[in-house]
Symmetry: D2
Subunit: 109 residues, 4 copies
């Protein structure tokens, strides 16, 4: 079994043992993901990146991944596939010759 599948299986098992599928509609999963992204951000608040606590970051990042994998599962999305597809799309928006060494948004390139 691929490891993205293994992650998803473990999350679904955790959810189903607690009978939580009833709460996990995609809108609330997206809320949960956004809340966890905010908690991750808090690890960097009033600090430089170097001063942030890596253990805290690991915990919050794991929560972000958990909700992201659950959402992907809810829409039957293969995580590897959607990221690789997005990279292809972004390669068109950000061609190497234009985007190299430049942090501007594609709309301003």
């Amino acid at each position: 079994m691929s490891d993205t599948r293994e992650i998803t299986q473990a999350l679904l098992q955790f959810r189903d043992e607690r009978d939580w599928a009833q709460f996990h509609n995609p809108k609330d999963l997206a809320l949960a993901l956004s809340i966890e992204a905010g908690e991750l951000l808090e690890s960097f608040l009033w600090k430089s990146a170097e001063q942030a606590n890596p253990n805290e970051i690991q915990e919050e990042l794991a929560d972000v991944f958990a909700y992201a994998f659950l959402l992907a599962d809810g829409y039957d999305l293969d995580v590897k596939q959607i990221v690789l597809d997005k990279i292809k799309k972004n390669a068109l928006k950000y061609p190497v010759e234009k985007a190299r060494g430049c942090a501007k948004k594609y709309t301003e390139l």
Copy 2:
């Protein structure tokens, strides 16, 4: 190669072809992740989950994953490992007998 590793490799290659590592400090990656989580949320705004556009969700979710994988890579974290570890921790916070069918936060259980 595991598929989480494959995803990370593809993201790093995309980044390095554009010489973007210089912008990708962890604090800004956490910002980017939070911004993308907000864009994902926008797919659900003023709508029920059923009315949301799955293609849009796929795109935004892919962006969320991209920054999450880049952050994990920046801290040398194995994505499968940190999610499985977090599930173990959460199993202690949310024991099946207490949490079953209940959406309360562990601090209120």
Copy 3:
């Protein structure tokens, strides 16, 4: 003194008594605002709007306002003015005859 000015004065006094201006650069204030918006969102997680706790919402909303007013002050912005200006702009994006009873984004109207 107008009440937006009174709010700002009280926030600046609280900040300066603690010598916190050194941490309050606009980028970190924007992070703080986003984190608080996430905490506000948490009051609605896995719930309908009716089930959310109004006292919690009041607390989190106050935090959101606090950072928003501090940011406005940092850029010498008059809160009433910028909101009224934005309403005028939005009136052009969302003309009454087109937008009436419709939740679509202006790009889709």
Copy 4:
């Protein structure tokens, strides 16, 4: 009329002319606020605070305020009152002698 009241009146008039109250339940308003906070954050992405565009910040901050005022109105909250109340609470969590010149969270003071 106080200026916070004037802001709220202008927002409600804009909303009612478009018959949008039907979409503005508090949960979706909290989503909208969080989305706008993410857009504000985007003004600072991959940049120092000094490099951020003040006009963009003004626009996004105005959107944040708009949803925050609408939410406050939905719960019949007086914005000045809730911010002043929160400052009093925070003064207990962050006493001057402990918090002076220190960016730690009250739980770590």
